[in-house]
């Protein structure tokens, strides 16, 4: 079974530039999450999708971050404009949701460096 796919693995940009990350969850997983993990810290949830609808985005900095999940499958996370403090690993995870056991399946992450 294919895992959660993310791209790009690494991205270096200058502040005020924009960047987009892509995630393809495990087939059949209804729930998709984006986490931000700053070096030395645990993952912080940014946004949760159930199918193609946003369930919770209370911790998403909406002035610069946006995310969408078209057709309830792939998802993209965009940052525009980027700030130095956005340097982090952006992790995508998916789960079966109510039909599952609560297990989250994570991708390898996209490491963003903002100069």
């Amino acid at each position: 079974e294919a895992g959660v796919a993310q791209s790009p693995r690494y991205k270096i940009i200058e502040k005020r530039q924009s960047v987009a990350f892509w995630c393809n969850p495990i087939s059949g997983h209804a729930t998709l999450y984006w986490y931000q993990q700053i070096l030395g810290q645990g993952p912080k949830l940014l946004i949760q999708f159930q199918n193609n609808g946003v369930v919770d985005d209370s911790q998403l900095p909406k002035d610069r971050f946006s995310a969408e999940r078209l057709k309830g499958v792939d998802s993209t996370l965009k940052i525009q404009p980027a700030k130095l403090e956005d340097s982090a690993v952006y992790l995508c995870a998916s789960s079966l949701g109510e039909r599952g056991t609560g297990e989250l399946f994570f991708g390898e992450g996209s490491r963003l460096t903002v100069l």
Binding site: T31, G42, Q48, V55, D56, S95, E98, F106, G107
Partner: protein, 113 residues
């Protein structure tokens, strides 16, 4: 969601048993306890989940006392490859829309030769 408290770091030696304890005083009746492992440059990976008493799989054991206010992840005979960060999470096991799983700071386990 219940907040969890874990030691920031632990050291061990190869071949030893490692026990990592997590406190979750405000655990709710329908909450489960789940542990994840994270290696550098990888996303967290599910290790084990339990509700009460003891759960064992091929990787670890999870001990949960009757009051469920804490839990202990036990890793038998660790090797260098077990060096990682271990996260304890508390939440429902049926992730309905709106259920968020919050990661704390985790426990950094260093296994030495």
């Amino acid at each position: 969601l219940a907040k969890t408290t874990q030691p920031i770091s632990m050291d061990s030696y190869e071949g030893q048993e490692v026990n990592i304890t997590c406190s979750h005083n405000n655990i709710a009746t329908n909450d489960y306890i789940t542990w994840y492992q994270q290696f550098p440059s990888q996303g967290p990976r599910f290790i084990i989940q339990g509700y009460k008493t003891k759960v064992t799989n091929e990787v670890a054991s999870l001990f949960i006392p009757a009051d469920r206010k804490s839990s202990t992840l036990s890793l038998p005979r660790v090797s260098l490859s077990d060096t990682a960060v271990y996260y304890c999470l508390v939440g429902p096991n049926r992730l309905r829309a709106g259920n968020m799983l919050t990661f704390g700071g985790g426990t950094r386990l260093m296994v030495k030769p």
